[in-house]
Each structure stands twice: as C-alpha cells, then as structure tokens.
Symmetry: C2
DNA sequence: CGCATTTCCTATTATAACGGTATGTTTATA
DNA sequence: TATAAACATACCGTTATAATAGGAAATGCG
C-alpha cells in the first residue's frame, strides 16, 4: 500500500473541515467521531497540518481547528507529499538525497522519473474542493 | 519511498540477464557482482521471479538462471506488482481486500482509483526490452 | 478569579515490514 | 565422485507504522 494512514486521514480531516466550515472552529473530537478515527491519533496528523499552515488551531473553550485557506486552494499533492515525507518512487529522486553514483549507467532512472511525473501530474491536479464534489454513492458503481 | 529494493533489484536483475543472455545460464554470483548487490539477498528476489515463471533456474555445475521469455514480453508492471505484493495506493483497491464499509460515502475513493489507474497505465506500458534501450549516460542530464 | 475546555507537547509501545545474513540440502555437470 | 550451483529454511537488527498515555498551556465564560 503506497499511502499510509497519515496521508489518507489527513485528506479525510480536511474534507470534513471543509464540509463543516462556517461555524467557526471545529473541535477535533467532533471530527474524530464523524470519521471514526482515534482522537489522539488525529492530533499527530493535525499537528502536521498546522505546521504547514493548512489549518489553524485555537485553544480553550470554543476552540478547535479550521482551514487557513479556501478548499480550492489546498492541493492534494502538497498534503500527501509532506504527510508521507515524500512520494518519490525511488530514493534517488528525493529532494535531499545524495546523488546516486550509478546515475550515469542506470537503466531504470528514466523509468522512475516518468513514473514520478505521472503521479505528480495527477495528484497536483486535485484540490480538497474537488474531493468534496464527489457525491454520496457516486463511487458505488456496484448495484 | 514507494518502491522497495525487492521491486528495484528485480528489474535490475532482469535487465542484467537480458543484456548477458545468449551464453546459456547465468550464475547469480555474476549478477550480484555486476549489480553490487549481496548474492544472498538476490536469492530471495530471484526465487520470486522463478515462482512467477519469469526466469528459470538450473542447478549444479554450469547452472544458473535465464529469462523464460523474451525481454519485450516481460511487462514491468507485472514484475513490480508481485514483487511489492500489490501497488494499490490504498488497501481497499487491493485484489483480495474485504469491501470497505464506507465505500458508499467515501469522498476519496474516486481519487484513489484515478491514481491507481495512471500508475498502472504507466508501468504496464514498459517492458524489460524498453528499459534496456536506455543508453549509458542517457539519464545524466547534468553536465 | 477560577474552572472547564480544548489545543499543544512529549514520551512510550506493540506490531510488522524491510533488508540482510547464515547454514544447510539437493541437483546437475565435468 | 568432487564440485558448483540453485534451492530451502531460519534468524536478526533496524526502522516505520499506528497508535496510546499523561500532562502542560492557553482560552473563554460565569
């Protein structure tokens, strides 16, 4: 499985927040209950979202979290990349990887680059707003 | 990193075998030396390739391995899928996964399906013969 | 002020996968 | 028959995953 719970849960949290926005801050417990995810585990995920300025938190009574920008400004690819710590198919394509000594004779590098490209092109095409558009039962093509 | 050493080494082994074919069976030690990969570790990878009828092994003196079919008949996607034990972005898209109870309300399923599709389309387009065509230094775009 | 509430912060943990090593058995060839 | 090779099984250290636990700090309200 390519994507871990960090990336998957993060997307679900953002969609949930977008769908329940407008009423100020949303407390994590509500999201946890709706999404059926442990509140404590969600904390560690939301912390990353705060660190990358995707959501803002407010402490104390009446506090909670809310999106720091409009859903159509949140690119899915960005979320997945920092939640997963990079999405490159192979290490040598990573941002801060030391250059591979085999780079000049490698017969697979071009293939991996191409794979990386099609993945990035796809995930950077989507925003949280796009995911919201998916209507209920829209995916359930099995009768 | 999406692809582990199993998938990466498997491709390198197959390309190596294809490039050194014609001289009958190739012993694993030669491949291990050329590819600078531990012979013992390669054994576990080649075992999978044998199990899936990609290569055939011959024991005893003068034995070794060779491809069981032409390089242009070996699809990279197939190799990666069984070496990695599936390449689906999320578990619910896997072959033998139990149906997800949230399938009818999931707002991300369509996105994941699309991602799976672009990955499969890409990796199933390549064969080992295509990887061989990559000329030396062809990837080294840094002067 | 003081209390409830809620985020924020710092561990700890169980399980599995990854990447690799070690030892030994079987089979074919020279 | 000795040798060389695949084949088989077991083991091991490290890292990542997916959480859980406990408390500190801040905010709003009566």
């Amino acid at each position: 499985m390519l994507i871990s719970t960090k990336g998957r849960y993060a997307l679900r949290v953002l969609i949930d927040m977008a769908e329940h926005s407008g009423t100020g801050y949303i407390k994590l417990m509500d999201i946890a209950e709706r999404q059926e995810i442990s509140e404590k585990y969600l904390e560690s995920i939301v912390k990353e979202l705060v660190r990358h300025d995707i959501v803002v938190g407010l402490r104390g009574k009446g506090g909670g979290y809310k999106l720091s920008k409009e859903p159509d400004k949140i690119v899915v690819g960005d979320i997945l990349r920092f939640m997963e710590g990079g999405l490159e198919p192979v290490a040598c394509l990573g941002k801060q990887s030391k250059p591979c000594p085999k780079v000049s004779v490698c017969r697979t590098l071009g293939f991996w680059r191409g794979l990386n490209d099609v993945i990035c092109q796809y995930i950077d095409k989507y925003t949280v707003a796009d995911l919201m558009l998916t209507e209920e039962n829209g995916n359930d093509y099995i009768i």
